[in-house]
Symmetry: C2
Subunit: 314 residues, 2 copies
């Protein structure tokens, strides 16, 4: 059995994907009944305002502002009592996430209420803020879709500063959900071509890695083989892990894997619009944004981009 | 960036953990309104009977029987209408999971109602059946704890043969939950010692790898560093993936990782009863079951065992 030789000059491959830059101290051992109130009272607390997969950003002289004081958040219409404590900055200042929602026509002047995807594609936030947004966005989404107890139907109450919901009727504690998704670059046996697919809902000309939810009772490796076979008919042999990426749509965890195809015959199912094998030259043209590339890639920072670029460089 | 060189004589490391041997064809693209009824009508269908983390086993002349006909399951008191379709054997025979529950005193003669942990520790089932049990156990648990809509509190209805629950009031579709858990063997910088800990609820003398739930908005690597620092104060640098294991308690996915310690000073938190550094000799004595070993290991087949043994052999 081969144990990896750790690279002394390492930086996680995962750290080179979007939404992975979160550096807040999560205080996960110190959550409790007082943490929310104490954090809200701290004059140095700052909160992001999120809801429905969107975040409120202010434009202040060309700079994008993500973090607001609690007073500002209240004035803007945030639901302060449902504020989640994400953690603290190294200097101890609390960082929070407060639920809010606007219809497009009610967004206040000077602000935008941006889809997380647009924030990330347009590069509106730095790595660390984008990482905090993944945490805040996931937790606000989970709290908002778990207001009732799945065991008995009673209303639940937020606890532990947003990391738990308790049912006062049956006593069940509910914890945030994180859905593992495997996303895989399947490589031909001669290592010269890769299998990419196109979902009907993709932007025009876009192809990407195959992906799917991990099912109950399967390993990550078996999930890669099952999804690839189901979607394209291609049998996959060895599988290896590459990187992971928080993915707040609404609360997934992308797990990037390589797989080696045992043969290359494609038999499409209904889920994909198309799938095909692309050469190194095809893929390089897309990565480099050449106008006559056969297809366009998902945005830089997507774990699919990471898998593809690292294969090209490997 | 280094892309792994696939081993042509591969067998997944994950396949060498307990609960990972599931080989059923999951039919995940063909679930739908008719699958349950059609499968129940198939005379070659067989079902396991599970509930509350336990499974009904019959002892038939020294052989442990896991699979029952639908008629047998009904006679034994299984809730047939809540039967989940796990998939099919290669010959097309359906394999199902039917909810059941017994108090200890009501278990019928000739049967045992065994905790999944005991089934696995006592080696009562073969690899493939243990894998199917992970799938069936997780799905029955998820369905039984999600009878109500977490969005609106209305009762939900099972759909897609147990892989979905629909709320007839607000229309939300709910999907099975799989909780990713990182479990890590942290290795000293000279590669001669490993960090193991002891939870208060462990059997006497047992030490194991540290572990914890992946939080919203963090990568797997960051989760390893956070949990290790929180539980033991030990800072971890590079992290690498080793293997994964389905873990039906009640529906987790264990993700086994190695991490390299940046220093070895331990500062315990409240969660662990103890943690310490163990040498190769200490660990080998435990793996080999020597009576004077400093500690005992979790059972063979646990991913912690896999991490430790593969480090020793590596």
């Amino acid at each position: 059995m081969k144990i990896p030789i750790f690279d002394p000059g390492y930086r996680d491959i995962s750290a080179r994907t979007g939404f992975s830059g979160n550096r807040l101290e999560r205080l996960s051992e110190n959550r409790g009944p007082d943490l929310q109130a104490k954090s809200l009272r701290n004059p140095n607390a700052r909160t992001m305002l999120v809801g429905g997969g969107r975040v409120l950003l202010a434009n202040e002289g060309g700079r994008t502002k993500l973090w607001f004081t609690v007073a500002e958040a209240e004035q803007l219409g945030g639901t302060i009592r449902e504020t989640i404590v994400l953690g603290t900055e190294p200097n101890g200042e609390p960082r929070l996430a407060t639920p809010i929602f606007f219809e497009p026509e009610t967004v206040p002047d000077g602000f935008s209420f941006k889809d997380f995807r647009a924030v990330y594609i347009e590069g509106l936030l730095g790595e660390e803020d984008l990482g905090a947004l993944a945490q805040g966005g996931s937790l606000v989404a989970w709290n908002s879709t778990h207001r009732f107890c799945s065991r008995c139907g009673h209303e639940t109450e937020m606890a532990d500063a947003g990391y738990k919901r308790i049912c006062p009727s049956c006593g069940t504690s509910h914890f945030p959900r994180t859905d593992p998704v495997i996303i895989m670059l399947v490589i031909s046996s001669d290592n010269e071509r890769v299998l990419l697919g196109r979902s009907p809902h993709f932007p025009e000309r876009m192809y990407s890695c195959l992906a799917g939810f991990v099912e109950p009772g399967e390993t990550l490796e078996d999930a890669v083989r099952r999804e690839t076979r189901e979607e394209t008919g291609v049998p996959v042999g060895p599988v290896s892990y590459h990187a992971s990426q928080p993915w707040p749509f609404p609360y997934s965890m992308m797990i990037g894997m390589y797989g080696r195809a045992e043969n290359e015959t494609i038999k499409l199912d209904d889920e994909l619009e198309d799938a095909g094998w692309f050469t190194r030259a095809d893929v390089r043209a897309s990565i480099e944004g050449e106008p006559d590339a056969k297809f366009i890639m998902p945005p830089k920072g997507a774990i699919a981009w990471r898998l593809v670029e690292d294969w090209l460089d490997g």
